[in-house]
Amino acid sequence: MDKVEYMIKSLQKAFYHSSDLTVRQIDWHEGDTAILCFYASLVDAKEVQKILDTIYARLDTEKPFWSETLLTTLDNFALPQAIERVCQGETLVILPDTGKMLTLAITNEVRRNLEEPNNEHILRGSHEGLVERADTNLTLIRKRVNNPALVVKSFTIGQQTNTKAYYLYMDGVIRPETLQEMEKRIADIKIDYFYSIGQLSDALEDSVLSPFPQLLNTEHPDRVVAHLVEGKIVVMTNISPSALIGPVTFFSFYQTPDDYNSRVVVGSFYKIVRLLSFVTAVFLPAFYIAVISFHFEVLPLELSNQVKNDVNDIPYRPLIEALILEIIMELIRESSIRLPQSVGQTIGIVGGLVIGDAIVSAGLVSNLMVIVVALTAISSYVVPSVELNSTIRMIRFPFMLLASLFGFLGIVVGVVILLIHLISLTSLKQPYFSPIVPFQPKAVYKIFLRWPFIRPTVQVTSFQPPKDEKGKNEDTP
């Protein structure tokens, strides 16, 4: 068997005779033969043909650097490298006579259009969203930061899937400890098959079992940039439009680009409204249960008659009553996510009008409970981050249970536990509840207010910079 045929056989074997693999013998320069090898599913064949034509023409002129173009490289042939390159979607031309291989990095562009992220609607500001391709995402970010200090480092996740991923940071702005911590965690990732961003955030988070997300998940490039210049690390993969941002504080989840694109006073107002919604979203049902079953003397006299009237005919204890409605609420939410949009509207009507009205007439729950649960649901959806939103909707259940067992005392105990947890939580070894604990008086107002951008030279950070500033970024451009 001649050498070329043998190589073709062994290549096919190396790729397990996959159907979309093309291995073919072609004519090369001056009677030589070459082997063409690529995955038909990954390669843009027309572009490859164009480049090959150019290279044929160059071979005829016998220029020494005939192989060098933007997209091609010439290397010594080695089977492992060859396999890796083909797997990454490159086209291989093996020259058996010289023992060299020419690779053409032209991959088939499978990408969707830049669309506005569906789960993070904003009113003003950029409507571009990240997509499932890392290079497009990097383009979107580089477009916003035209500065070499924006460093992009690549790594692969998944021992078997070899998925490309990147982490980005602004050199000079980022704290070295944070960078080291992130690099250490990335090096420690032990995932064989990587297919979802959730695997990555699990591997990178400080405490996976905490209900609170410690990495911010966003699809907005402008949000990514805003965090980059604050000295945070962004991790992006080639398979998901989500960027993971860390270290973040609890209050980062309550920010949205809208705050900073609207007027100062308006932005501050909505920031405060959103933060207050945390209180109603978590404590309102618990408060209602506690009042109805322990402390009804706090109701004003005028209201108490009405409340008593409503509550009198309900067969269940307040906790059961609340659970019925809360669970219906969660079912409506869950079903409206899974259903196609056209049907999703129906669910809203069924849930809101039919169930909401009928359940009161049927005497299962009281009117006030419907108001309480509706108000709670609305305030929980105010949170701009999907992760924190679901967290908040979940943590109100333990509070309801505590309220039904101990009344206000139970709620207080719950709040203490919640605060202890939030204060001890860290995000990439940085305090999660940052401007409040550890207390930074100068930064606290930023939680509630959006300050005008009139002093551009101040470096914005979420965390207190270290006291000794000596070693810090002399070389920042």
Binding site: V291, I292, S293, F294, F296, E297, L299, L301, E302, S304, N305, V307, K308, N309, V311, N312, I314, R317, P318, L405, F406, G407, L409, G410
Partner: protein, 358 residues
């Protein structure tokens, strides 16, 4: 074993709260309580809203003590009587002839009981006053609470609630004056009829008329939002009404320890709110009106002080003042000393505003 221990601990911790639970739907929220009778034979009335009929239900019970009355009343109600939203206690004028604290004791012992509630003394039996709330759509207690608060704003009733009454009852140096209410002629609503004077823990039997109680509150330097006084001004053979609203009072008491005499100087600044004759800007008219009001107020002050001393009711807190600033003069049996004091009021009225009509 380990698992059993955890289960036991958890259930002990979690179920402990259930003992304190009191479900709203199992409680009858009493807003108005009436007390009649005397020790050994009390009669109690409890008004609570019947939510279905939009009416107030009244439960009547007898017992030997206020607590016993409540227990007896509980036997007649399908749910538990709950007094945590109580807003008013009505006591008949016969009952307060006995020490008032006998009735109030149970309200202080229960931590769930509010202490910001109002107390009023009724003319005659309490029953009709409670019954008239039956047809009210709103709460029974709320009716009396609003009634008393609005009267307080007109400076007829002193601003008192259970807490202040409780602390004053045990103080020798100051006495309380509780709101006194009557039935209207058609017996459909309550009428503010002044204040009932107490001496120590017991009702003296004397009632100040609304006008007198306003004077008393001015003496106490407690004018509320409005404190209106109306007088007739005789001028050129015609009578002309004048109404003055007290804006501000400055008082100064000068004590002469040897003579046991207190000079009570009051400077009262008023606004004229009604004066159809007009021309108040003319100096003679102005002076005359000012003098007229001053003379009237002076006379009223003297009269009210005489009544208060006659009943040994130190609602002004003169005893407090004496004990604080002239401790030598203070004696343990204060009420007797108080009655023998020489109180000399002198009033100066100043018109500082005449309304927007110049």
């Amino acid at each position: 074993m380990y698992r059993k221990g955890i289960m036991l601990l958890l259930s002990m911790l979690l179920l402990a709260g259930c003992w304190d639970e009191r479900l709203y739907k199992n409680a009858s929220v009493v807003t108005l309580v009436g007390v009649d009778g005397y020790i050994g034979a009390y009669k109690g009335y409890y008004a609570y809203p019947n939510t279905a009929a939009q009416q107030n239900e009244v439960i009547e019970a007898d017992g030997i003590s206020p607590r016993d009355v409540r227990n007896q009343a509980n036997l007649k109600v399908e749910q538990t009587l709950d007094l945590s939203e109580l807003s008013t206690i009505l006591v008949s004028d016969q009952t307060v002839r006995e020490p008032l604290y006998d009735i109030l004791d149970i309200y202080f012992r229960d931590p769930q009981n509010p202490i910001s509630i109002k107390i009023a003394v009724t003319e005659g039996d309490v029953k009709p006053f409670i019954e008239l709330t039956k047809d009210l759509a709103g709460g029974a207690g709320g009716y009396y609470e609003r009634f008393m608060e609005s009267t307080e704003e007109n400076t007829i009733f002193p601003k008192l609630d259970l807490q202040t009454v409780g602390s004053m009852l045990f103080e020798q140096t100051i006495d309380i004056a509780l709101p006194y209410i009557q039935l209207s002629e058609d017996k459909k609503h309550a009428v503010a009829a002044g204040v009932a004077l107490f001496s120590g823990q017991t009702f003296t039997g004397t009632i100040l008329t609304p006008k007198q109680s306003l004077t008393m509150l001015l003496l106490m330097n407690q004018p509320s939002k409005q404190a209106r006084m109306s007088y007739m001004w005789k001028h050129d053979g015609k009578s002309m009404p004048i109404t003055a609203d007290v804006i501000h009072i400055k008082r100064q008491w000068t004590v002469n320890e040897e003579l046991k005499r207190i000079d009570m100087d009051y400077l009262i600044e008023v606004e004229i709110e009604e004066f159809a004759h007009d021309h108040l800007y003319k100096d003679p008219v102005f002076k005359e009106v000012q003098q007229l009001i001053q003379d009237h107020v002076q006379a009223e002050f003297e009269e009210v002080l005489r009544i208060l001393q006659g009943q040994q009711s130190d609602t002004l807190g003169i005893g407090r003042y004496i004990r604080a600033y002239h401790p030598k003069m203070f004696q343990k049996d204060w009420h007797a000393v108080y009655a023998s004091l020489q109180l000399v009021p002198s009033v100066q009225v100043k018109i500082i505003r005449t309304g927007v009509l110049r």
